[in-house]
Amino acid sequence: MSFPKNAVLTAIFLTGSLVNATAQTLPEAIAAPGETAIFTLHAEGAQVYECKAGADGALAWAFREPIATLFAGGKTVGRHYAGPTWEYSDGSAVVGQVAGTAPGFVANDIPLLKLNVTSRRGTGALTPATTVQRINTAGGRLNGACYKAGTYESVPYSADYVFLRKG
């Protein structure tokens, strides 16, 4: 009876990943009550920082832009980059604006985010998305002084992006 056993195993995996992606208790600041997850993509990449003078005139690392590959089931299915933009391989893409943040797991992890979708292009899997959550962040943080204005530093990170739609 190997088929039913596999089916049960699959069901357990699916449940497991749904729980990870959406049904775990997210901090209120990034929750999206009344919205439904369309899917979750894993991101691997870098947060790019630029050495800039701050308000006090001292040079410090300032966040510039993200650059990451988006994965689903071990396949590369898109990219995440400046905007912030998420682009899926079917040509659909959304741009978001931060609407809420919550601390990462440890001090080196970039914050968890909630972003409202502010524009879209193409038509496909991402088209219905109204909200994007950045969860399960690892790495990506860079703080402190730097020495040469205009230099860059890439800090590796991973995260999961949950795409949600209203209703």
């Binding site: 894993h42 691997e44 990449g45 870098a46 790019v48 832009e65 650059i67 990451a68 590959t69 994965f71 071990g74 590369t76 990219r79 980059y81 400046a82 790495g139 205009g150 860059y152 530093e153 890439s154 800090v155 590796p156 990170y157 991973s158």
Partner: protein
């Protein structure tokens, strides 16, 4: 006469960047592109991504999977580099390359310098007509050794300059 002084300074700066991009100490033979001329040089910031996989000997080790990087010019983000390997400019022109030569990076932690022949292109713009891409001035990006969990990923941050050339 600050304007004149600035102009002279700007000239020096742009000569310096042209020098470091192409006319610096000759590139290693293995990645040279004699007879081709530089169209554009872009700076890349991003990560080389590795996946934990069983090698030929059955042991789990980090295997290179794909690059992901922002392409920058004069402080502006003008494109992306990603699996293919693809280089995509915001004017929508893009090329895909295939490595045909390599030379060691400056230190063991730096990924090799590369010469890639363009195998396909799309869109129309600044990258149209490019026949060769060189990856030079690499810093970081290397990951070697054993890993524990098949299918897990790790990013090694890197930077490099990509020189786009065309024949003639």
């Amino acid at each position: 006469m600050p304007i004149v002084r600035n102009a002279a300074f700007a000239l020096l700066l742009s000569s310096a960047s042209v020098l470091s991009a192409s006319a610096q100490t000759p590139l290693p033979d293995a990645i040279a592109a004699p007879g081709e001329s530089v169209v554009l040089t872009l700076h890349a910031e991003g990560a080389q991504m590795y996946e934990c996989k069983a090698g030929a000997d059955g042991k789990l080790a980090w295997a290179f999977r794909e690059p992901i990087a922002a392409l920058l010019l004069d402080g502006k983000t003008v494109g992306r580099h990603y699996t293919g390997p693809n280089w995509e400019h915001i004017d929508s022109s893009a090329v895909v390359g295939k490595a045909v030569g390599n030379a060691p990076g400056a230190t063991p932690n730096d990924i090799p310098w590369l010469k890639l022949t363009v195998t396909s292109g799309r869109g129309t713009g600044i990258l149209s007509g490019v026949t060769t891409v060189q990856r030079i001035n690499t810093a970081g990006g290397k990951l070697e050794g054993e890993c524990d969990k098949p299918g897990s990923y790790r990013n090694a941050p890197y930077s490099a300059d990509y020189v786009f050339l065309r024949k003639g």
